[in-house]
Amino acid sequence: MASRLMEMGFVPGAAVQVLRRAPFGGPIQYRVHSVSISMRVAEAACISVTNDAAWSEPAVTASAAELQVAAT
């Protein structure tokens, strides 16, 4: 699971942007390495991020973050 996340781009040190959340508490859409990927909350839980307020995106209301994947 962790290796799959990393292959898709969620590598330690990558910049991740949260885009939106699906209805009824569904999956969350992220942008990483210029690709848009969605995953369920349970899956997103194994990624830990540190916030980087310096990169703000006025056009899309989101929060940017630096990423570290927990080894599960």
């Binding site: 885009l19 699906a22 209805p23 569904g26 210029s34 056009a59």
Partner: protein, 746 residues
């Protein structure tokens, strides 16, 4: 040193494999390169589709293999396993002669991950940067020359939708093939990954160490290529590790364990180290080769998504889109199906005019023509559904729909991708089951296929209408404004869906138990769908249905006709029919009275023949089984006869009760006859509990051979259709039993 083997163009076609991430326009490119000469099939043992195209470029025969879209050569799904195995030369076919790795030029940061792995395969590679036009529009500049130098491979920019760059790609492929054939055998086409600087440090050292070990163990060069050694180290307990350990013995697997421990201690643990090093390599290369002249701001896709995936409106829009799709399919396919039935009816009547009544005529009209009709009737719906699926998938909306519906599907233990197939099954399970191809998780797909027939399909309606019309009183609930009949109809229609929830959850926990695969779904940029690709897919789906499932459906139809006609002496039936037709030919009006008497006799004959036939005898034989459900043998016969196709039950009931087979569910005569039907001891057969038990049986039973045959086609085995049939029949029996017994006590 052996002299270079020069293969002539006419000996065997060169095998060129196309590999790439999903959503890189690979299919469009494949279709543009191979034209119509595409053969589809299955890889042995898995339900992964195989697409191979044959073409000729510059006089060379080329075989193009379209590998399934994959994110990495570290296989985690059957699709990726197939890709790895084709590249390493399993499946009794030689390795490809050339690999074309297709990337989305707008997303090289991620797409090159697979490319760096492909570069390690001992095979010439051409890098194809597809969707170049979209990259240009997004302000991305890529220096293909520099990229080519950095990676050591030819780089070609293409736009499959605009059909640009295809000539250059074809030329590059042919040149590469010619060049590689001139290379002496045994020489490697590509320097090892870590020599090119992708994998470095302790990892590279371990790979070298393992290679030396294999050399000393006497493993031939072809079986210890750098790619195989790398993958055996990086994919613990993977297929490549098993392959090499088989050949090299336990010494190798011990060495692998040692290496992994060493790397973990050095901070380069498997699997993290591969992703880290590759992405670092990619970002270094791209920093020298790619420039984004515009900051990655809110693209058009983002702006569209803000509306289409909005938490409230997005969801409503999704429902509206799907409603639109299904009503269009229904609205369009009805008249087409009716036209087809009309044509077949005309053919039947022509046959009746030219032939005297007899067994051959019956076989032709009621067996063969009806059999062909039962296959063709599904074709318009299937083609339309796949047209819509193709359009929605190609433009990128499908993944958004799966994204929004995921939580809802989670209640069934499934993922958002199951939504569309299950919704289609409400109209008809045949295209619905075929639509499960969009689900990539194997277990989810099978569960969806198994519960799809529970969705109340349109063929169940006539049964409900007949039973409700005849036996449910026309009263109103809640003070009279909510008709009881409507409530019962609604209950019956949703019964299947309600039952499907526990069934799906149980299946997921027992037979199809396994780790739920992660819902990592990529949401690609929106773009206009390519009509060529979509129409080709529609054609392929339609053809595969007719050829694979259609033949079986036709065969079953003829068999059932035979079971309902023989054994039996049809002489009187033929004589009466001939008399009626003679009178009709002469003058229908003045002979009306006589025709009607003859028709009544004919109906009686038909009823008796049905009783005597194999079908009828089966119905009588199972009467003790169906008595606890409140049914008599006539209902038993009608139900057995409707196993191939539910709609047949009405006509069969008409025949059994001597009303002729032309009645429909609205027929007042049929209703009255049913109300008046009695057991030998005089008590009425039908009552409200009996009517409900019949409806419940139909709601839950798999009485549709077409669906079962399509399940066979989609799962590539007989196990699953048989299982569907058995479990649903058991479920239906229990449901009908409970309804009747409880109903009688209320």
């Amino acid at each position: 040193m052996p002299s270079p083997a020069i293969r002539s163009a006419s000996t065997r076609p060169a095998r060129v494999a196309l590999i790439g991430n999903p959503n890189t326009g690979k299919s469009t490119l494949f279709n543009a390169l191979s034209g119509m000469r595409v053969r589809t099939g299955n890889y042995p043992g898995v339900t992964v589709e195989k697409r191979v195209g044959r073409t000729q470029w510059s006089g060379r025969n080329i075989e193009l293999i379209d590998l399934p879209g994959t994110y990495s050569l570290s296989p985690k799904s059957p699709d990726e396993m197939v890709a790895v195995q084709v590249l390493t030369g399993c499946y009794d076919e030689p390795k490809p002669d050339l690999i074309v790795c297709i990337c989305n030029a707008s997303a090289l940061e991620r797409n090159l991950y697979l490319a760096t792995q492909v570069l390690e395969v001992d095979c010439p590679v051409i890098l194809c940067l597809n969707m170049w036009d979209a990259a240009v529009r997004a302000g991305i500049q890529i220096d293909t020359e520099s990229l080519s130098r950095e990676l050591g491979v030819r780089v070609v920019a293409t736009s499959a939708t605009l059909r640009e760059g295809l000539a250059e790609l074809k030329a590059a492929v042919v040149e590469s093939l010619t060049a590689s054939e001139a290379v002496a055998e045994g020489a490697s086409h590509r320097t090892c990954a870590h020599a090119a600087g992708i994998l470095s440090g302790p990892v590279a050292m371990e790979i070298d160490r393992l290679k030396e070990l294999l050399t000393t163990l006497g493993i031939p060069a072809a079986k210890r290529s750098p790619f195989l050694v790398t993958r055996s180290l990086l994919d613990p307990a993977g297929s490549v590790e098993c392959l090499l350990t088989n050949d090299a013995g336990s010494a190798y697997s011990e060495a692998l364990d040692e290496s992994r421990k060493l790397l973990a201690a050095a901070g380069d643990e498997i699997p993290g180290v591969e992703a880290r090093q590759r992405y670092q390599f990619i970002s270094r290369v791209l920093s020298r080769v790619q420039k984004r002249t515009r900051a990655p701001s809110a693209t058009l896709t983002d702006r569209i998504d803000a509306v289409l995936t909005h938490r409230v409106f997005g969801f409503l829009i999704c429902l509206a889109v799907l409603m639109f799709v299904f009503s269009t399919i229904y609205w369009f396919s009805q008249p087409v199906s009716e036209t087809v039935e009309g044509v077949l009816g005309w053919i039947s009547s022509q046959i009746r005019h030219t032939m005297a009544p007899g067994p051959l005529r019956s076989l032709l009209t009621e067996g063969i023509v009806a059999g062909v009709g039962s296959v063709l009737v599904f074709l318009p719906q299937i083609c339309l559904l796949f047209l819509f699926i193709g359009l929605l998938e190609d433009c990128g909306y499908m993944s958004r729909a799966a994204f929004m519906m995921d939580r809802l599907m989670g209640l069934l233990g499934l993922s958002g991708r199951s939504f569309l197939p299950l919704m289609s099954s409400f109209a008809c399970a045949v295209p619905g089951v075929m639509a499960t191809r969009v689900i990539d998780d194997r277990r989810d797909r099978f569960v969806t296929i198994l519960i799809a027939p529970l969705m109340s399909c349109s063929a169940r309606l006539p049964v409900y209408v007949l039973m409700i019309g005849a036996f449910i009183p026309d009263t109103g609930l809640l003070g009279g404004w909510l008709p009881l009949r409507a409530v019962v109809l609604f209950a019956m229609s949703t019964l299947g869906l309600v039952v499907a929830v526990p069934v799906a959850l149980i299946l997921r926990r027992t037979l199809l138990r396994g780790e739920p695969s992660p819902f990592l779904l990529e949401l690609p940029d929106y773009h206009l769908p390519s009509m060529r690709v979509v129409l080709l897919r529609v054609w392929e789906s339609g053809m595969s249905f007719v050829v694979r499932a259609g033949t079986l459906i036709f065969a079953t139809s003829v068999l059932v006709w035979a079971a309902g006609s023989f054994p039996g002496d049809h002489a009187q039936q033929y004589a009466l029919t001939a008399q009626i037709e003679a009178l009709q030919a002469v003058d229908e009006e003045s002979n009306l009275a006589e025709i009607e008497t003859l028709a009544a006799q004919l109906n009686l004959q038909n009823s008796q023949l049905l009783e005597q036939s194999l079908l009828g005898r089966m119905g009588v034989a199972i009467e003790p089984l169906v008595k606890p459900l409140g049914w008599d043998w006539r209902i038993g016969v009608a139900v057995i006869a409707s196993f191939p196709a539910r709609e047949v039950v009405i006509a069969t009931m008409g025949t059994i009760y001597s009303l002729g087979g032309d009645v429909d569910e609205e027929n007042a005569g049929l209703r009255d006859t049913l109300r008046g039907a009695k057991w030998p001891d005089g008590t009425p057969v039908f009552s409200i509990p009996v009517a409900i038990s019949i409806m419940v049986f139909f709601a839950l039973c798999a009485q549709c051979v077409s669906t079962l045959m399509v399940i066979r086609r989609e799962t590539n085995s007989w196990r699953w259709p048989v299982f569907s049939f058995v479990y649903m029949t058991v479920l239906a029996y229990i449901g009908a039993f409970l309804s009747y017994q409880i109903g009688m006590r209320l």
